[in-house]
């Protein structure tokens, strides 16, 4: 195995290297600056931070998390720094067959260097790539407000998200997928820490003179540790799923599920529509877009012209145009969070975090959730005309 630091035969290659460097100067080398994390200017501006305060947040984050090329994992995060190093930095190999920069190779073009969902391609994609910074993930096996487990993120990377631009990374090695999951968690913990810090200025008393304390007790114990604990405790928040009875009468279960779907208790019909084509209430936003919509309204109604002008600049450069989130068409047979009955159970039980889909937990009995799952799984195969809809309803007839 060859390493990068093995002695190079520079003496025989000096002319070539010199020529290459001369050409590089002529071609404008150094025009690609080293990557840096982009500040969460939307939140900083929303909280009306001063430039000094924005700089303080950036300095603290640099000390706690490092840079995109050289990430740092404090022990409290529970993150494996070796895995982070595999994903960080530009794409390059230092040993034959070992590729670093995995995040930039596979993820950053959509999710952005900072994990803010603002990569170069983001504006073209629908739905927009996930912004990891609030630490909210949709498709998981935990309760609605809890973090996804490590396995949930591995599953998403392995399976991709059908019906979206998120591909399956099943062709990557298990080591690479593990490392990418670790890096996504790192970006998420970093983003949540940034949000927490920015919001802390609001609670400062006069003695603080507008500066956050830069002590370990405050930064690590008060801010970072609670965030990291929620990630590290995600496995304990897994939804307890009752077994679907092995001898279940499937036709009866589907009928019962249909009844629940249209009934007041589950009330799936409100958004997914009487046809289940996703044509019910369709003018809602997910949490990421809703935050921008609401802030736009706030900016529009503010009298401070300097702040409004800064806010408008931030909205134009650091936020994507808000889009509504249509309820899923359940007759396509495309389930973004996974097609297993268990995945559908999770979606109905806990709802979809960050999306208008509410949790049925507490409203619908666990066994009844299985009936709804069975009905939903039957929808792509329900015969035409049954609901009086003049569109192809059966999955196999769509093509």
């Amino acid at each position: 195995m060859h390493r990068q630091d093995s002695p190079m035969k520079v003496s025989t290659n000096q002319a070539g290297i010199l020529l290459a460097l001369v050409v590089a100067v002529c071609a404008g080398c150094g025009t690609t600056p080293p990557a840096s994390f982009r500040a969460n200017l939307v939140e900083a501006t929303k909280q009306r931070l001063t430039p000094d305060q924005e700089r303080q947040v950036a300095t603290i984050l640099l000390a706690m998390f490092g840079t995109p090329d050289d990430p740092v994992a404090l022990p409290e995060t529970g993150l494996d720094e070796a895995k982070l190093k595999l994903c960080a930095g530009p794409v390059r190999s230092d040993i034959v067959g070992r590729k670093n920069g995995l995040y930039r190779e596979h993820c950053a073009h959509c999710h952005g260097i900072s994990g803010d969902g603002m990569g170069p391609t983001a504006a073209f994609l629908n739905p927009y790539p996930r912004d990891y910074r609030p630490g909210v993930f949709k498709f998981k096996s935990t309760e609605r407000a809890d973090k996804p487990t490590h396995g949930d993120l591995v599953r998403i990377l392995h399976n991709g998200i059908p019906g979206t631009s998120m591909p399956s990374f099943a062709l990557l090695s298990a080591v690479q997928v593990e490392a990418l999951v670790e890096y996504v968690k790192y970006l998420s913990i970093r983003g949540e820490t940034e949000l927490a810090l920015v919001r802390q200025y609001f609670e400062l008393d006069d003695d603080a003179q507008g500066k956050l304390p830069e002590t370990r007790e405050f930064l690590v114990d008060e801010v970072l540790t609670p965030i990291a604990e929620r990630w590290n405790g995600a496995a304990d928040a897994r939804i307890a799923v009752p077994e679907m009875p092995a001898d279940i009468d499937m036709m009866a279960s589907i009928a019962k599920g249909r009844e629940l779907f249209y009934g007041d208790k589950a009330n799936c019909v409100k958004c997914h529509g009487v046809t289940a084509l996703g044509d019910g209430q369709a003018n809602d936003y997910d949490d990421w877009n809703k935050a921008i919509v609401e802030w736009r309204k706030e900016v529009g109604g503010d009298k401070d012209s300097d702040w409004v002008s800064k806010a408008n600049r931030v909205l134009a450069g650091d936020a994507l145009r808000p889009r509504t989130i249509p309820p899923r068409n359940l007759r396509h047979g495309i389930y973004r969070g996974g097609r297993r009955p268990l995945d559908l159970y999770y979606r109905i039980h806990a709802g979809i975090n960050g999306a208008p889909m509410p949790a049925a937990k507490g409203t619908v009995d666990p066994q009844d959730i299985w009936h709804i799952v069975n009905y939903i799984r039957s929808l792509p195969y329900e015969f035409d005309g049954e609901l009086g809809v003049d569109r192809p309803m059966v999955a196999k007839d769509r093509f």
Partner: protein, 324 residues
């Protein structure tokens, strides 16, 4: 056939076109698989002299090493063939266009090699973009030499020649725009990417319109060879449009909002799949082939190496020196 009758300039130029086509295909694959930094040193390969790197490790080692090291070896081969071509053309071909193009090819191949080295040594994406633009330019020059050295060039055809030249320029600029998308730095903002995609689509429209208009004009006034090339280009451009759409879909799925939701695939996209790489790389390679075809068309239409070259060639033929 005696050795005296062999057109060595043309033969070597054809060899150069072949080697360069494979070289560019490897280069396109290197970008598709982000393998440019699979070998972190240059011109050595993991400390070995490039030509002495263990061949078994190259052939049976990791895919990205195979691509990058193969790209370097092919680049070296192209460089050597270019030097031979320059020597042969200056010794045996009296056509100034061929001679000077051969000399330009030497300059370009040295520049391209140095750019490739600088891209690795400095790990710089801007240089990667320049490298990706110089490659097709070198290919175009190689094709021009091969075409011009084949036989006396067509006589200049006045206004007829302008369209193929415009098409050639548009095809090259389209490759330049494509290179900006392919070597996109992840730090750029969405609006920059938006602009680049817009430019690439505009370029596609320009190339399509120019190829169709060229085919129409050339079919009325051009030589049989020019007619054939112009029609062939229209077909290639049509295929290229499909590959372009395919490249988008392979990366990001069906464009939302443009097509019915019911057309969405039930299976997720698959990163780094063979089909994905074939479509995306095929789009790049076909773009280079279209550029090559436009070079031939421009020459056949008399736009490059036209009247003067034709006269020189005629003189050469008369004196028996062209194919000497």
């Amino acid at each position: 056939m005696t050795s005296r009758s062999l057109n060595w300039t043309h033969l070597v130029a054809c060899l150069l076109v072949g080697v360069t086509a494979v070289l560019l295909s490897f280069g396109a694959l290197v970008t598709t698989y982000e393998a440019a930094m699979a070998v972190p040193d240059w011109p050595a390969t993991y400390g070995h002299n490039m030509f002495l790197f263990p061949w078994a490790e190259w052939l049976y080692g990791p895919w990205d090493l195979f691509l990058e090291h193969g790209h370097r070896l092919l680049g070296a081969a192209a460089g050597m063939v270019t030097l031979v071509l320059a020597a042969v053309s200056w010794r045996s071909d009296i056509r100034p266009a061929v001679r000077w193009l051969a000399l330009a090819a030497v300059g370009l191949v040295i520049l391209q090699g140095a750019l490739g080295g600088a891209r690795v040594l400095l790990d710089d994406k801007t240089i990667a973009k320049v490298h990706a633009c110089t490659g097709p330019l070198f290919f175009a020059v190689a094709v021009a030499i091969a075409t011009l050295s084949r036989r006396p060039a067509a006589a200049a055809a006045g206004s007829l020649a302008r369209l193929p030249v415009a098409l050639l320029v548009a095809a090259y600029l389209q490759l330049v725009a494509g290179a900006q998308l392919r070597h996109l730095d992840a730090t750029v903002d969405p609006s920059t990417f938006h602009t680049l995609v817009g430019l690439h689509i505009l370029g596609a429209v320009a190339v399509t319109v120019l190829s169709v208009v060229s085919a129409v004009v050339v079919s009325e006034n051009g030589s049989p060879a020019a007619r054939g090339w112009s029609r062939g280009i229209v077909v290639l451009v049509a295929v290229q449009m499909l590959l372009g759409a395919g490249a988008w879909m392979a990366n990001w799925g069906l464009p939302s909002g443009l097509l019915p939701e019911s057309w969405q695939w039930s299976e997720p996209l698959r990163a780094r799949s063979l089909g994905n790489a074939a479509v995306v790389t095929g789009h790049v390679v076909l773009g280079m082939l279209i550029l090559a075809a436009t070079v031939v068309l421009a020459i056949e239409a008399g736009a490059i190496g036209g009247a003067q070259a034709g006269r020189e060639a005629g003189d050469g033929l008369a004196s028996g020196r062209v194919f000497a």
